[in-house]
Structure formats: structure tokens, C-alpha cells
């Protein structure tokens, strides 16, 4: 790893404190997820709510802990290609098997 690159990383990357704050947010979201789950009147609304919550956790980890926010966009493309395709295939298969109906 060349000198300039690691210097760049020092300036671009979050500090330990920021990593800790992200961890707190992650825990809060998880607590909310489990909490939402016990709120019965939400009914079917629970599914999209839980989806959004876990997607936001996913994004936080990928962007900050995996440094995608600070790294070259190419890494994001390589990863997101697989992720989106997997999501598409899962949705197609569920449609074909009539899970939604």
C-alpha cells in the first residue's frame, strides 16, 4: 500500500468515535425491529417497516464499516450488481411460486 493512499485513508475514514456511534444506531434499529414486531396493530404494515429497517442497517454497515462510501465506486458496482440481481431473482421466484397471491 503506497504512502499517499494510506494517508488519504487516514483523512477520509471515520474515527473510532464515529464507528461507535454507528454501532449505537445499529443496535437501536435492531431494538426497534424487535419492538415493532411485538406491536400487533401494525398488521401487514409490519413487513415493509421491517424491510426498511433492515435495509438501513445493511446500508450503514456497507457504507461505513465496509468503507464503500469512501472507496472507489467500482467496488460498490461489483458488490451491488450481485446484491440487486439476487434481490431480483428472489422476487421473480416468489412471484412465479405465487407466494404473494
Amino acid at each position: 500500500m503506497s504512502q499517499e493512499l494510506s494517508a488519504e485513508e487516514h483523512t477520509g475514514h471515520p474515527t473510532a468515535g464515529q464507528y461507535f456511534r454507528i454501532a449505537v444506531i445499529l443496535c437501536v434499529i435492531t431494538a426497534v425491529e424487535v419492538g415493532v414486531f411485538y406491536v400487533e396493530f401494525l398488521g401487514h404494515w409490519m413487513i415493509p417497516i421491517l424491510f426498511i429497517l433492515s435495509a438501513s442497517k445493511f446500508t450503514l454497515v456497507a457504507m461505513y464499516y465496509m468503507h464503500l462510501k469512501f472507496d472507489h465506486k467500482l467496488f460498490t458496482y461489483l458488490f451491488v450488481a450481485g446484491f440487486i440481481l439476487a434481490a431480483l431473482i428472489i422476487s421473480f421466484l416468489l412471484l412465479l411460486f405465487g407466494v404473494y397471491s
Binding site: 503506497s2 494510506s6 454497515v61
Partner: protein, 241 residues
């Protein structure tokens, strides 16, 4: 140095076309590929959700509070991992080792939870009071109907949830088992790096790529669990699903 520069196969990331490191790029391509691997397993799980012919079903075996704790542990291990990497780049070797050990310990704790969970599911046992059964799940109702018909005081289930029991068992153990295998491999990887860090000059603030890659893998295993926790556990016990 000029020679070094011109031979791209030589350096870590000098002389590459994009200036990005070969191995890091491979790691990201691998993670994209692994998304498809877990995607296929999750697709199988979801396609078969609710298609099991007999119990136990998710609602019978899942213990959300316990799994929430193991989820918490894995999330924290991700934080600890990123702190280990951060400490390394700041030349804080002691901090690096402490955070590495704690990551490995939390990873092992997660595996411990999974072993506990698997074995408790496999030996899942219900006993129903025939006189005063209370609120029953579909599976328990089935046991009640079978066992209480001839005037016994109690009805019991015969076997727990094994992979062979029903579609839920088959898909659940396969999906979470492969995730557990990923975590186990990650723990071995982290411990190997920890050992290597005692050898002089192998892992240094400048030569941090090995740790960087292991960290990427570790966080990926964490995000996969974020998905599994929601899709398998929370949706699994959701009554309308």
C-alpha cells in the same frame, strides 16, 4: 523503483490500471458473487415458507429474544472489527490485537448461540395439558388432537425439528448453517491474522491489506445475518405470513 513500477504483477496496488489493489477488487467481486449464493438459499427458504406439511413450524421453535441477543453480539463484533482495522492503521498494535481478539470471541459466541439454537430446536418437545390446553399453535393443536382423543391427561410431541422433519427444517438449517460456516471460517481467518501479527513485518500499519480483506468478509457475514434475522426470524413468526 522504476522497474518495480513497470511490472504490474509485482506491487500491491502500484502499477495497476485503476490504482486499486488486485486482491481487494477480487474480494469485492467475490462478495457480489456470495450475494447470489445466499440469495439462492434465501429464495429456496422463502419459496417453501408455509409449505411444510407438518410441524414444528417457526412459531413453535423460534425464541426471538435469544436470537436478538445473538444478533446484537454479531453487530458488535462488526464494530469491534472495524475498530481493529482503525487501530492498525493508526499504528496502535495493542489496540489492534485487543479488538481482533474481541471480534473472534464475539464471533465464537455467535456460533455458540447457533449451536445452542440448533440443538434446542432438534430436541424441541411439547407437552400439552389435555384438560386446560390454553392457546395453541397449529402444530400444538395437531398434537392435542392426536394425543388427547382417548382421554389422556397429557399429549406429547414425538420428535423435535430436524432437517429431515419438514421443509422448514430443511431450508432453515441449510440457510443458517451455511451462514454459520461462513462465520466459523471468518473466526479461523481472524485468529490466523492475529497469530501472524506477532511475526515481525507481516502486518503493519502500511501492510494492512490482509486485515482489510478479512474485515470486508466479516462485515459481509454480518449484513447477511441482518437479512436473515429479518426475513427468517421476524417474518417467520409473524402470524400473517
Amino acid at each position: 523503483m522504476a522497474q518495480e513500477h513497470a511490472a504490474p504483477i509485482h506491487g500491491e496496488d502500484e502499477g495497476t490500471t485503476t490504482g486499486l489493489n488486485h486482491r481487494k477488487m477480487l474480494m469485492w467481486a467475490f462478495l457480489g458473487s456470495d450475494c447470489m449464493f445466499f440469495g439462492s438459499l434465501i429464495a429456496t427458504y422463502l419459496v417453501y415458507q408455509g409449505k411444510s406439511l407438518e410441524g414444528p413450524l417457526p412459531i413453535d421453535v423460534f425464541d426471538i429474544p435469544v436470537t436478538s441477543i445473538s444478533t446484537f453480539v454479531l453487530l458488535m463484533s462488526s464494530m469491534s472489527m472495524v475498530l481493529a482495522y482503525s487501530a492498525l492503521t493508526k499504528n496502535n498494535m495493542k489496540g489492534f490485537r485487543i479488538w481482533m481478539i474481541s471480534t473472534a470471541i464475539m464471533g465464537s459466541t455467535f456460533i455458540g448461540f447457533q449451536v445452542y439454537e440448533f440443538s434446542s430446536f432438534a430436541t424441541h418437545h411439547v407437552e400439552i395439558d389435555c384438560v386446560n390446553p390454553g392457546e395453541l399453535t397449529k402444530y400444538e393443536q395437531h398434537i392435542f388432537d392426536d394425543g388427547c382423543s382417548s382421554g389422556e391427561a397429557h399429549a406429547e410431541s414425538h420428535e423435535g425439528l430436524k432437517p429431515q422433519t419438514n421443509l422448514f427444517g430443511t431450508t432453515f438449517y441449510t440457510l443458517t448453517g451455511f451462514h454459520g460456516a461462513h462465520v466459523t471460517l471468518g473466526v479461523v481467518w481472524l485468529l490466523s491474522l492475529l497469530l501472524l501479527s506477532f511475526k515481525k513485518g507481516v502486518i503493519t500499519p502500511e501492510k494492512n491489506l490482509d486485515v482489510d480483506l478479512a474485515a470486508l468478509y466479516w462485515h459481509f457475514v454480518d449484513v447477511v445475518w441482518i437479512v436473515i434475522f429479518t426475513v427468517v426470524y421476524l417474518f417467520g413468526v409473524f402470524p400473517g405470513f
